[in-house]
Symmetry: none
Subunit: 223 residues, 4 copies
DNA sequence: AATGAATGAGAGTTCATTCAT
DNA sequence: AATGAATGAACTCTCATTCAT
């Protein structure tokens, strides 16, 4: 197997037993990579619109103006495509979260940052989030996507730590359950992807502000 | 179509939004109806577990110990089955919501009731909510399910009215968007179906209490 | 899963985790089984003619006058069909070999019997032998067919034992290699399936006689 | 088609049965020819391992470290590659057979020579023989390979002549069928390619000796 | 001499649904 | 009320081959 663009951008655990040289000198792979990214984008849009299962590889190929078989020049499988979409989202999110943690601040500030990060991915990673909301239940059955569950577990730890720290430092109420609270925050944010319209009254930042307000102080008017 | 129970338990399309349970009065059809309900229950469990699309009619038939073709004696399509699951949920929810409204009380009390109603459906209607969370994006493309969008619009009006009334009477903050707030509340509650375990630390009521607390007063500790 | 004819006639190692009742009272399965056997026969003929790989499930379905998808009512997969063909051959061969052994006699008699048994399968199991000759190299890569290699190993032991016994009792020459000799006999017999015509000058029995003659005494005229 | 080495190394179809090696006399095409031969060798190895049908042109290209499309600079089809492998085998075999005949001797000596020739091709032409054993049934359907059947018919005549001559001169038994006997000898020898290991206890020559012994005198111990 | 993108035909398989029995 | 056989359309994916660069 040569170094085509089919490698899916992620390391494979299984070593290649068959021979074959690996090459490619200069920059023609940039073009290949652009084509590939374009196809991923088209697929992402369809996955978001109709769902992963309901989108056929023919749909994607049609959108690109090629035949379905031709997609397999670029990707191993339909799964590879969605994998690429999800990976790119998770990688970016993890990096942003780490950066927020590194910036420091009191738990309320960190939590605000984390919330804002979530909302800020809504537009650039709409498809990934949509797929996660609608098709995760289906995708999780494939070993290949186990890494997503792990990534989510990491994120949970990160949030829960901040909530607990907030409780210890007297910033947050003591009578809420950290894990439960995290889950509700997480779900509430991501699920907005279903109805959120960036061109609407509130953009992603506005949505974040609104949510942070309610999250920290509730909807009640306090005297 | 024969004179069996195949009419999907629902007389007319325009009867959909009126809510309320339907009963079959007379004789042997009760047995048929019981068998039918049993099959719906089996299907519901599978839909909840694997999703609507990923569940095959064969899966359902297998679970019932019959052949897939035999299901069509009871239902005229796979869609009919999920329709029945969803209708039963929406009918019950609408009725409960109306009852809460009828009971009256200040907006905070009514809203609390509405929240509690939502959480209380989590167990008996787990499958319907799961389907709505995971497969709505797919199902909405069929005209047949347009009534669900209408029912949801009705519910939204009901909630938004209460939130606005709360703002007018000085109970709720003025700087929150009623519609946005409703959506977030709605999403936060329903999405819990994905991880909620009735046998866990908190049951549905506990979850409701926890959420109402955070919703009204936020997670911050106010002096 | 119910007890349809899809079980492939062979036990499955993997237990069925999904529920479902198992029934079937009377004899309607005989009919189902007949249909199934008919399809297997059609497939066998095609496999023998064109090879396993080159035969498509559509070819088989066409021959049966149904659509390709309909085959899957009867079989899990194309592999299942060929499996059935091979299993039936191996089962019968193993039984016949055991019977020959049980009959006893000196090694020359037993070996003659074994040879005759091989030739006698040429007509009834032509397809299986043809597949084994032409497609074994392909089929052996699938775990599913590991049992064939095992069956072959058993047969080898059986033959080699007789050859050795013949050498010990002074019936056979001492300067031949038992294993090598077995392999050559085996291959020589089975490979005749490629050109053997039952309607030709010699039938399977005639072929066996001819071969036994040459095998034991060679082609040379001994004074 | 350009003026590359794509003409498959063979000038005309009617030159096929004449046998003999073909050389390219002149200049830089020697390099091209070497590359070509290298590719044929890689393909041969794969065909032997996995069979002709199961080997994809991509497999071959991978092995060579190039892309599958690039193979078509050297060959005009997958068939051309296997054709080259088979032709080279048949040409050499025919030449060797002719030489044996030319050397003369009594039928027993000639037959021994022919047997030894067959065994001696086992190593250098392993792939061709393997393909012939496993994929001939598939390849024979293409007109292009009709010449193989013809070559085989020629060989048969040659062998049968010697066997008959042996019977006439009282060297061989009269009660064996010459044609049948030839076929069994042929099959027995070629089919060993499936399990023969040159590094094993017996090399090709040893195998030949062993077989000649059994062929002429049988496995029985004659007083 | 090779790449990289694509074709086009066809592969095995799935599945909701129908219908005679 | 159920069976068992079949449909027909669609699915993901494969692969020999082509061709502009």
């Amino acid at each position: 197997m040569t170094t085509t663009s089919k490698d899916n951008g992620r390391q494979r655990a299984d070593a290649r037993t068959t021979g074959g040289a690996r090459r490619r000198a200069k920059g023609s792979s940039t073009l290949a990579s652009e084509r590939r990214e374009h196809l991923v984008k088209l697929a992402a849009e369809l996955f978001a619109q109709k769902g992963y299962q309901a989108t056929t590889v023919r749909n994607i190929a049609d959108e690109a103006g090629i035949l379905s078989g031709s997609l397999y020049h670029h990707f191993d499988s339909k799964e590879s495509i969605v994998d690429e979409i999800l990976t790119s989202f998770f990688d970016e999110l993890a990096a942003a979260n780490q950066a927020a943690l590194a910036r420091g601040g009191d738990p309320r500030e960190v939590l605000s940052d984390l919330v804002r990060i979530c909302f800020s991915t809504l537009v650039p990673h709409r498809a990934a989030i949509m797929v996660l909301q609608n098709d995760w239940n289906y995708l999780k059955q494939f070993e290949r996507f186990d890494y997503l569950a792990k990534a989510e577990a990491d994120t949970e730890r990160l949030w829960v730590d901040q909530i607990k720290r907030g409780q210890e430092t007297g910033l947050f109420r003591d009578d809420i359950d950290p894990k439960l609270t995290y889950r509700m925050i997480r779900d509430t944010i991501w699920v907005t992807v279903r109805w959120f319209q960036p061109e609407g009254r509130l953009d992603a930042d506005g949505l974040a502000d609104h949510y942070i307000k309610v999250l920290f102080d509730g909807i009640s008017l306090h005297r």
